[in-house]
């Protein structure tokens, strides 16, 4: 079962087309293993990216260098998935 320890989901708010363009470039870097939950399209829409642990430093550096604003939407994805599993198990036991 694939695990997602240390994966973070970043919510990025681009403020202009240039930043959208940079995020599109980022999405083409396959070695980073990024999973775009929402795509860079327009400034009006946030861009959510699941970033594997091994790419976090690089992605944050990229965003920082280009002064692109982001927030951490999910701190550790596996924590959330573990919680989801626990809830499913608990519900079954209660049933």
């Amino acid at each position: 079962k694939e695990r997602f320890e240390g994966h973070q989901v970043l919510r990025i708010t681009a403020k202009n087309d240039a930043e959208i363009g940079l995020l599109k470039e980022l999405s083409k870097q396959e070695d980073l293993g990024l999973d775009f939950w929402t795509d860079p399209v327009d400034q009006s829409l946030p861009v959510d990216i699941r970033v594997p642990f091994h790419s976090l430093q690089g992605v944050r550096a990229f965003l920082g260098y280009h002064e692109i604003h982001y927030e951490i939407m999910i701190q550790d994805l596996q924590d959330l998935l573990d919680k989801e599993q626990r809830e499913m198990m608990r519900a079954r036991v209660l049933q």
């Binding site: 079962k1 694939e2 997602f4 989901v9 919510r11 396959e30 999973d35 775009f36 939950w37 929402t38 795509d39 399209v41 829409l45 946030p46 959510d48 699941r50 939407m73 999910i74 994805l77 959330l80 998935l81 919680k83 989801e84 809830e87 499913m88 519900a91 049933q95």
Partner: protein
């Protein structure tokens, strides 16, 4: 659970649990609900559709599907709640009763069962089907890029490793082909609602082109009514518009195909999350999500009933 009253609507469930739910619902409501098997998935799982019908022949129909993208767990969870809502409210809610007295409702709860099973067994973040792509180590096709309308356009990928891989050909995915065959053989579907998560949107054709569809004004006005109804319950804000103009160019998508098949009331829903959980919406939000979405579905179904074409 021994009955659908005992079913835990406030939690996520495995494929087998959802399948058992469907069988129980049919057993408990034999005059209203039946189960159709419209095909088999790539890995051989049954493609089950619940049919809600109060009788009659050649009645017009309303199609609703959930779970076409495997990781969007909130959608089959909501769909399960819709199914129970229909049997509970028929005969009590005058609006729903009037709809079911004229229309059949078809509800496919797990449109991509291979993918859904895979999200439970191996990779919670899986989105696509589980097709083995010859010549590639990457698995799966995006079933929402595999439809014939606009197939192969720029809003999809030819790369099997992409999350928006369109597949080797239009309708290559049995999960898609089964719906196509069913829709064509039925021949009288009047609304086609496909449910995704999570960016709180209601999208109508087209996705493949910026050109407006012929019925854009009506679809836009109806989306406003539906999203207003949805928002009235918990304040969840939706945006709406054509797929192309609201999010991005998406080619070979369900909604475009259904519209070009002549089904005017064709919408994609993107259910809630407001930027906290994405595809991992906590289970305690299943019922509120389903409740608010139901209000929007009712607006569209009533409009479909009141505006024959």
């Amino acid at each position: 659970p021994r009955s659908t009253d005992d079913y835990d609507y406030e939690n996520y469930h495995t494929l087998s649990e959802i399948n058992s739910f469907m069988d129980m619902l049919v057993q408990e409501n034999p005059k209203l609900v039946s189960k159709l098997v419209i095909g088999q998935s790539y890995e051989g799982r049954a493609l089950n559709v619940l049919k809600f019908s109060t009788g009659g022949t050649k009645r017009p129909g309303i199609w609703i599907d959930t779970g076409i993208h495997a990781r969007e767990w909130i959608t089959p969870a909501s769909g399960t709640w819709f199914a129970k809502k229909i049997v509970t409210e028929y005969g009590h809610d005058p609006a729903l009763t009037a709809i079911l007295d004229k229309f059949d409702i078809f509800l496919e709860l797990v449109t991509n069962p291979d993918g859904y099973e895979y999200t439970h067994s191996s990779n919670r973040m899986w989105r696509k089907t589980r097709r083995i792509n010859s010549g590639s180590s990457c698995i799966g096709v995006d079933p929402n890029r595999n439809w014939g309308t606009g197939y192969g356009g720029a809003g999809s990928s030819s790369n099997p490793c992409s999350e928006t891989y369109r597949g080797p050909g239009a309708y290559s995915e049995p999960e898609v082909k089964a719906i196509v065959d069913f829709t064509k053989s039925h021949g009288n579907l009047k609304a086609f609602l496909t449910i995704h998560s999570y960016s709180q949107m209601m999208l109508y054709p087209y996705g493949d082109t910026h050109k407006p569809c012929v019925d854009e004004a009506e679809l836009d006005e109806l989306a406003l009514k539906a999203s207003t109804a949805l928002e009235s319950l918990y304040g969840t804000k939706y945006t709406y518009g054509s797929t192309f103009n609201t999010i991005y160019q998406a080619s070979g998508v369900t909604t475009d195909w259904a519209y070009d098949e002549g089904i005017k009331y064709s919408y994609t829903f993107e259910l809630r999350d407001d930027g906290h959980y994405g595809f991992v919406l906590p289970a305690d939000q299943i019922i509120p999500t389903a409740q608010e979405t139901w209000l929007a579905l009712m607006v569209i179904m009533e409009h479909t009933k009141n505006n024959p074409y």
